[in-house]
Each structure stands twice: as structure tokens, then as C-alpha cells.
Amino acid sequence: MTLALFVDITLNSLVLGGVFLIVAIGLNIIYGLSRVMNLAHGSLYAIGAYAGYTLVTQKIPFFVAILIAPLIVGVVGLVLERTIIAPMRKRSMIYTLILTYGLMFALDGLIKYTWGNEPRFMAMPAFMRETMPILGTHYPVFRLVTLLITAAVMAALMLFLGKTKTGITLRAAATIPEMVSCLGINMTHVHIGAFVLGCCLAGIAGVIAGPLTTIDPLMGHGMLISSFVVIVIGGLGSLRGAVIAALLIGVVQTLAEFFITDLAMVIVYMLMAVILAFRPRGLLGEGKFE
């Protein structure tokens, strides 16, 4: 194992884990605050990637596209929330699960219909297509940029949730919704806001994942399963748990592809099953179920 290889593997894990993290946090926010287990999250992630792709092909600068694409996904999320998610809130969790399952297929089908089956490549500014020497290895610049973006998103989220009034309200609503509504805050607004925020996060993850893995209609499926594993292991609704779990799964998946490709994912699923059955509150014990 040379230093170059070690650095490669570490950076690959961080990049992968970073994308998982953004998706998982979005999923957790939607679950914790909007009280919906959103199986269509992967499709929203894919829509973010495709939106970014379309914007870039329309000659919009890359970094501007990264800002606009999540907003587009947010709008989609808003429409979905108001039309089909909100009426389901009073019904049992099973129906909501089935509903978002169906939504996933509808969105996937729409993606195929609009953009076709072929994989798409997102064009990047020239400087990002180079590799940079780092600690003995040459690593693609755009992957390092992805790491920076992930860090920036996490920092922004932490500031938002920790320091702003809206953020603190959202956190309170996740823990004691009844109390928050007693304080006169409109819970419907909270639900909508949380859902839209979660969708925006999915969109951001999608748009930065575009150059990493190429954009194709099935990209949401793989991400969905992985992100579920992450939030279960981290604890449903727990943001801190998601950080640890995302990095963990990022490392596991990268190492597994490197060493023993065959059983890797099976082990990951088994870990998920074990946690669900024996420690449902997740690694940090902060998760919650309805």
C-alpha cells in the first residue's frame, strides 16, 4: 500500500461519503420534520443532476448552475408536497410509504421521458478537468471541489439550524411538535419548509454527483438504497448520526470495491438489518420511529 494509493482511497471515501451525507441529511429532515419517509428522494436527487446538466448545456456557468438546480428541485418538492404528500399525512405510515414508492416510479419514468436513456456527461470548467498533485498522488480537481462544496453545505446547514430563528424552530419542531404549535407557529409551514429544504439538499447532492458518476435515469435507485442504509445506521432523524454513518458507509463502500467486491454490499445490508432489529435508534441512539 503506497502513500499515493492510501491518499486516493481516503479522498475517494470522503467524496462518496460527502454525497451520501447531503442526501441522508435531506432525507432525515423530511422524515423528522415533515413526518414522511420519502422513497422518491433518489429520484429528486436524479432530477437535481439532470437539471444541472440541462442548465450547463444552456451555456449557464457551472457554479451558477449548481446554485439554480437545487432551487428547481425545491420547487418540484413544493408542488409534490402540496398536491400529494399533504393529504397523506393523516393516514398511516404504510400508505405514505407506498405513495412515495409510486412517486419514485412516476418521477423516474418522467426523467426517462424527458431526457432519454443515454448517460449524460456534465461539462465542467477547464480548470476542474485537470488533476492536482496531492501528497504523492494526482487527484482530479473537480473531486476536491466537490469536497469543498460538501463542507460548505454542511457548514451552512449547521449555521442555519444552530443560529437562525427558523433553524432553531425547525429543530424544536422535530423534537416536540406539539409544543411548537402551541407557541403559535404554523406547523403546516414547518412541514412544507422541511420538505422543500430536504428536496433542495437532494438537488445539491445530485448536481455535484453528476460529474462524479455520470448522469443516467437509474442513478437515483442506487443512491436511495445507500442513503437508507446511512440514515438507518445513523438513526432515523438524527443529523449527527447521519454524519458518522455517511462517512462510515463511504469508507466501507470504497474499500469494499477495492478489495472484495463480491460480498461488500451484502455486509452493508446486514449491518443495516442488525441495527434496525437490535439497535433501532441507530449508532448514536438518537433515532426515532413513529
Binding site: M104, V232, Y269, A273, A277
Partner: protein
């Protein structure tokens, strides 16, 4: 209040005999063997959908990828017929169903420790696990290419050869017989005190525990029944198709089964069978017309959940409410 009696009224018996007769006569009137194959597939998936209904409609637990157990059953039977012996169909099916139950038992034991959302996610985790194993275990399962070249056998009863599985009519009638038996048996089980306990668990798990029901045990038993039926469906599947691939065990196919139950109506046993028929027909028909049939699938699921969660079986109740 739904009719909970275990005996069948003369009218119900007459109705069932008529339906059975029509179904049995079908292959002799069908235009060509393609339609017989389609009906055969509807019966198999009807059985699978019914097994999912035992979990979803009666015990109130969502199993996301129940088709995994159809797949496992199919692989075991297929491997048995290819590698061990192609002479005894009954033995192969017995091994297949037993094998499926053997695998479902530890899975179920882990799963019934939870309920609701956690249970559903666990079924997803295990389903994905089986899918990945089947896909990766290339040397045994043929991986992505699937299990092919399953030999034809003959259907025998008490030593008399009734027909060869090469003949589509034979397979169809065989499938019809087995599915009908399973339906009647399951109906009997559901309408027994056992079924009542399952429904109690569905209504309120905590309260059921309070009155002294060993909730986990009953959930496990319900799960085993559902997986046993799925295993039977799997055996019928491999005999009919001669082929099984990981695609049949995928999350996408799992959604299809869920939709069949939803379409037909949860908690009615016969509803999901009708739902399976409708679903397969639509899928076959729509996929010939447009390649974007996934959009329609998704929209139909959404509409069903929003407006018609009782499915076809609930139409009667819906109409009654309209008339008022």
C-alpha cells in the same frame, strides 16, 4: 362486519365452482398458447399477491420485496431439477418450499422484533441482500444471466403420469389446481382464531400484547405462512418459465406485487388475485404500446393510494356508500 364464518354457504360454493370451471376450461378455448401463458403468469402472481396480503392486509406489516421469496423458491426448485433429479416434480417443489421457509425463518425472527416502518425497511434490507447474493453468486445462480435450461418433467399423481410440463395446458391446469388449493387453505387459516389474532395485531399491536397475545410469535407465524405461499408461487414460476433471473427479485418487481395488492384491495385474499390479473394484463398491454409505462405505473399507484386504497375488493363498499 365481514363474514368470518369458516364454512362456505351454498351460494359461495356454487360461485367458486363456476369460477374454477371457467378457469379450467380456458386453455381449451384460448386463441393460442401465448394467452395460456399469460393466464398462467396471472395465477402465479395472484398467489404471490395473496401471500403479501396475508402480511399487509391481515397482519398490517408491509413487506417491500416479497418477490424475493418467490425468487428463492424458484432458484431452489430450478437448481434441484437441473442438478439433482428431473424426475420428481413433487419432490423438487417440496424441497423448494422447505428451502424457502428455512431461509425465511431467521429473517422473520429478526424482522418481527420490529413493526411498522422499521419492519418495512428491514424487508427492504433483506430483499436487497438476497438480490445481491443471487446476482453475485455467479457459479450457482448464473448471476445476471439467470438460471436457464431447467429440464421438463412430468406431473404425476399417485404414480400416474398426468402430463408433461412441456405442454402449456398441463402446466396451466397444474398451476390452477395448486393455486386454488392454496387459496382455500389460506382462507380457512385466516378465518380461524389464528387469523383473528393477526388482525388484532394489525389493529393495535400494543393492545394485543396487553391481552396476553405473544405478538412476536404470531407475527412470525404469519410471516412464515406468507413466505411459504411465496415459495409455492416460486416453484410454479420456474416450472412454467424454465428460467429465473435476479430481475424477478428486484425492487422494481417488488413494487409490482405491492401494486397488485393495492389494486385488488388489501385484506380480502381474493382481491389481490384479481389485482394481479389486472396488473399483468395492463403491464403486458401498455408495454407494447409505449416505452414510458413506468410513468403510468407510478401515477396509478399514487391515485390508488389517494383515492381508492381499498382497491377492487372495496368497490362494493364504495358503491354502497355512494348510494346513501
Amino acid at each position: 362486519m365481514p363474514d368470518k364464518s369458516t364454512t362456505l354457504s351454498p351460494l359461495q360454493i356454487f360461485g367458486m365452482v363456476v369460477i374454477l370451471a371457467v378457469l379450467a376450461a380456458f386453455p381449451f378455448f384460448a386463441k393460442n398458447r401465448f394467452y395460456i401463458s399469460l393466464a398462467n403468469e396471472m395465477l402465479i402472481y395472484g398467489l404471490l399477491a395473496m401471500s403479501l396480503d396475508v402480511m399487509l392486509g391481515y397482519t398490517g406489516l408491509l413487506s417491500f420485496m416479497h418477490n424475493a421469496y418467490l425468487g428463492i423458491g424458484a432458484y431452489i426448485v430450478g437448481l434441484f431439477l437441473i442438478h439433482v433429479s428431473a424426475s420428481s416434480l413433487w419432490l423438487a417443489m417440496l424441497v423448494g418450499v422447505a428451502g424457502t421457509c428455512l431461509i425465511a425463518l431467521p429473517v422473520g425472527w429478526v424482522q418481527v422484533r420490529t413493526g411498522g416502518l422499521a419492519f418495512a425497511l428491514l424487508t427492504l434490507a433483506f430483499g436487497m441482500m438476497f438480490y445481491t447474493i443471487v446476482w453475485k453468486w455467479y457459479s450457482v445462480t448464473g448471476g445476471d444471466d439467470g438460471l436457464m435450461g431447467v429440464p421438463n418433467t412430468s406431473v404425476t399423481l399417485a404414480g400416474i403420469v398426468l402430463g408433461k410440463t412441456k405442454d402449456p395446458k398441463v402446466i396451466y391446469l397444474f398451476t390452477l389446481a395448486i393455486v386454488s388449493l392454496c387459496f382455500l387453505a389460506t382462507r380457512r387459516i385466516i378465518r380461524s382464531p389464528f387469523g383473528a389474532v393477526l388482525e388484532a395485531i394489525r389493529e393495535n399491536e400494543e393492545r394485543a400484547a396487553f391481552i396476553g397475545i405473544p405478538v412476536r410469535l404470531y407475527k412470525l407465524l404469519g410471516w412464515m405462512l406468507a413466505c411459504l405461499l411465496a415459495g409455492v408461487a416460486g416453484s410454479l414460476f420456474i416450472v412454467y418459465k424454465g428460467y429465473i433471473g435476479p430481475i424477478t427479485m428486484s425492487a422494481f418487481a417488488g413494487a409490482g406485487v405491492l401494486m397488485m395488492v393495492l389494486l385488488g384491495g388489501m385484506g380480502s385474499l381474493w382481491g389481490p388475485m384479481v389485482g394481479a390479473g389486472i396488473f399483468i394484463f395492463i403491464q403486458d398491454y401498455i408495454s407494447t404500446k409505449t416505452e414510458h409505462w413506468e410513468i403510468y405505473l407510478g401515477i396509478v399507484v399514487i391515485l390508488l393510494v389517494l383515492f381508492m386504497p381499498q382497491g377492487v375488493a372495496g368497490v362494493g363498499g364504495y358503491l354502497k356508500r355512494l348510494r346513501r
